[in-house]
């Protein structure tokens, strides 16, 4: 019929293109085939899911040649890139998180109780418990279902500067005065604490004593992180980042390159190591404790770790007072992979997204910059704060980012569009600590006004 003929002729007028699906590591999926230029990401998703042959369809994002994301249609992307349409075009597909975390919109409670500024907050790996450390030398635990105080832990004699949960959610480590950062290793036995005098102490939590002292840094150690491969990474004010072997405490490598204090470190597998055996996709409304024997939990944690890490080694990013960040491959090389410049004031915190594809850096120049987690390429800037941004936290699905700043507001950003999703005012003074619970339901923020606020949808 005439209508069908019109349809066919219209189809013939649209250009077609040969594409080849590839995954992030470069492995091809299926064989190259023909698609019209005006195909949308949804249709591409259907095709790709069919090729992947999984039980449930997974949401995917597509990148032409691994660089430009396909947003509206393949044609516009190709035109923007100026790619030849004669050759086979590689299209990289990236599975996104199956679950979707909703942005927090309201402050459900203001938890008072601390008599001095709240300096650090942390959710337990399953999101069931919340702990906060403050300048009044106490660590308080809060019951999240009723949003009331649960327990106050006293014992410190100075400001509680750092708190860290063990990945199995059973222990909390807190450090005061000279202990700037502490973190428990993935096997939950050893605790590493970084100190102002330049030494790192490794404590055995079971035996309750100091196992090793790692010296080597000349000035105060600002950050310490356990890697999943048996390595320990530390950064210091003496402008270096050092890599140590966790087993015997031998220094493997010194990464030099920064021009000023190194303030913060971030590992690509940070989120996975923090949450351990807990899978955010399986979260329920009421957070539960992790069940299962130690072996089972270890197995699950290892599986999750391997999945997130992939075949490439862990990447490390360090942010410094010299306004730049360095992307390193610490397990293999001494030279940085990339130097990320662009900030106009010191970088206070860097964080990899839970799926390790993106990197967020918060700086005192009132902006947050998003970089590609693999190559370090600059992606976008999130502007909106009117004073220094102190801390950021990713949501478990890597789509949202919450940032706390010295201007007393928190802002939730949508990283896909780069726009402000939600503005959360309410604190009376600077916001010092922010954390997003791993089950995605709550955001906790504490600040100079001595209140801890919980935000929910």
């Amino acid at each position: 019929t005439a209508a069908e003929m019109k349809e066919v002729s219209r189809l013939r007028d649209v250009e077609r293109l040969l594409i080849q699906f590839q995954d992030e590591e470069g492995e091809v999926l299926g064989s190259p085939f023909d698609v019209p230029l005006d195909i949308t990401p949804d249709k591409l998703q259907l095709v790709c899911n069919a090729l992947l042959q999984k039980e449930e369809p997974v949401p995917l994002a597509f990148f032409v040649r691994g660089e430009a994301e396909v947003v509206s249609s393949l044609g516009s992307c190709v035109k923007a890139l100026g790619v030849e349409t004669e050759q086979v075009l590689p299209v990289v597909y990236q599975p996104q998180a199956v679950f979707r975390v909703r942005a927090v919109a309201r402050c459900t409670s203001t938890l008072q109780g601390h008599t001095e500024a709240v300096i650090s907050t942390a959710f337990s790996p399953t999101g069931k418990y919340l702990a906060s450390g403050s300048g009044d030398t106490t660590v308080r635990f809060w019951d999240l279902t009723t949003e009331t105080p649960h327990h106050t832990a006293r014992g410190h004699t100075h400001w509680v500067l750092s708190i860290a949960w063990s990945p199995d959610g059973k222990k909390l480590a807190s450090g005061c005065k000279n202990i700037l950062k502490s973190s428990l290793n993935p096997e939950c036995r050893y605790l590493a604490s970084s100190s102002k005098d330049g030494a790192i102490r490794i404590w055995d939590t079971v035996l309750g004593r100091c196992e090793k002292i790692l010296t080597g840094h000349i000035q105060s150690v600002t950050c310490v992180k356990w890697g999943g491969d048996g390595l320990l990474y530390t950064s210091s004010q003496d402008r270096t980042v050092k890599v140590w072997r966790a087993k015997d405490g031998v220094q493997c490598r010194t990464l030099q390159g920064h021009a000023h204090w190194v303030n913060t470190l971030a590992l690509s597998t940070d989120y996975v190591l923090r949450t351990g055996a807990f899978e955010p996709a399986t979260a329920t409304i009421n957070p539960q404790d992790l069940t299962g024997s130690l072996e089972e939990l270890k197995e699950k944690a290892l599986q999750r770790y391997n999945k997130v890490r992939g075949s490439a080694p862990e990447r490390l990013v360090s942010g410094s007072d010299d306004f730049t960040l360095f992307l390193w491959n610490p397990a293999e090389e001494k030279k940085p992979l990339a130097r990320l410049t662009g900030h106009s004031a010191l970088v206070n915190e860097v964080l990899f997204s839970p799926d390790t594809r993106l990197l967020a850096s918060a700086s005192f120049d009132k902006s947050i910059k998003i970089w590609d987690g693999r190559t370090g390429k600059y992606l976008m800037s999130l502007r909106g704060h009117v004073a220094s941004v102190y801390q950021v936290a990713w949501s478990a699905d890597s789509r949202l980012l919450v940032s706390g700043s010295s201007d007393s507001t928190l802002k939730v950003w949508d990283v896909k569009t780069g726009k402000l999703n939600m503005d959360l005012p309410g604190h009376a003074d600077e916001v010092y600590a922010v954390d997003w619970s791993p089950d995605g339901q709550r955001v906790a923020s504490g600040g100079k006004d001595k209140c801890l606020r919980i935000w929910r949808r």
Binding site: H158, F364, A428
Partner: protein
């Protein structure tokens, strides 16, 4: 007391008395008894003066004794935790942009609700017309005296255009027009040079407010967007009131204190 050195001269020439040193020693040891006798027996005004002086002496003595005692026993450092808790990343930094810090918004809102404005200079000397306005004589014989020239510093807005000179009654000379003020934040003790948005109220007369005359005690609105203040609702504050604290016509600059 000797007015010259004759005593010393005599001592050099003839030496001391044979019992001089012993007498001196004994007299000094009697001093304590004499002092206590005085303290007990003095009456009247002399007693009051003496006791007052003695009291001050005793306090001083006790303080020095205590100081010596403290030095002898070594004490552990005070266990009290210092104020001003900051997170680890702010430890070695001095409040860098302390000058751009947020002021407490709850206090602000409460004050606004109450409608009370506490001004740093509540009472200011009212300035009469003869002081502020100078008579300008015009006309062929310089007899007409209806024009006035402002002798104090004034602020005119951005889009200000003079009226035709023949008809303008108040002359505001260009040399006395100012756009910026040095505003001090009272809590942070930091001073910023901020552009003036307008004159809110001149305490001497509403005429001066309308003309934009700035004298000591005038409340002026200034542009504070560079301070980075934010309301609790999340909006950025860009205008605030400040009160002028000096006599700008004498100093050549406008100093004001921010009303927080």
């Amino acid at each position: 007391m000797p007015q010259n050195e004759h005593i010393e001269l005599h001592r050099k020439r003839h030496g001391y008395r044979l019992d001089h040193h012993e007498r001196k020693r004994k007299k000094e040891s009697r001093e304590a008894h004499e002092r206590s006798h005085k303290a007990r027996k003095l009456i009247g005004l002399k007693a009051k003066l003496y006791h007052k002086q003695r009291h001050a002496e005793k306090i001083q003595m006790k303080k020095t004794i205590k100081m010596h005692e403290q030095r002898k026993t070594k004490q552990k450092n005070d266990d009290k935790t210092p104020e001003g808790a900051v997170p680890a990343y702010l430890l070695d930094r001095e409040g860098q942009s302390r000058a751009k810090v947020l002021s407490n918004m709850i206090k602000q809102k409460r004050k606004e609700k109450a409608g009370k404005w506490e001004v740093p200079l509540p009472k200011v000397r009212a300035q009469g017309e003869t002081e502020v306005l100078k008579v300008i004589k015009t006309g062929k014989r310089q007899k007409k005296a209806w024009k006035r020239m402002v002798t104090k510093v004034c602020f005119v807005g951005d889009g200000f255009t003079r009226k035709p000179p023949k008809y303008e009654r108040f002359i505001r000379p260009m040399g006395l027009r100012f756009k910026k003020a040095h505003v001090t934040h009272p809590e942070l003790k930091a001073t910023f040079c901020l552009p003036i948005l307008g004159v809110k109220k001149n305490p001497s007369s509403p005429l001066y407010t309308a003309l934009g005359v700035i004298t000591k005690g005038t409340v002026v609105e200034v542009n504070v967007s560079e301070l980075g203040l934010v309301t609790q609702g999340g909006k950025v504050i860009w205008g605030k009131y400040a009160q002028v604290t000096n006599n700008p016509e004498n100093d050549g600059c406008i100093n004001a204190v921010l009303l927080v």
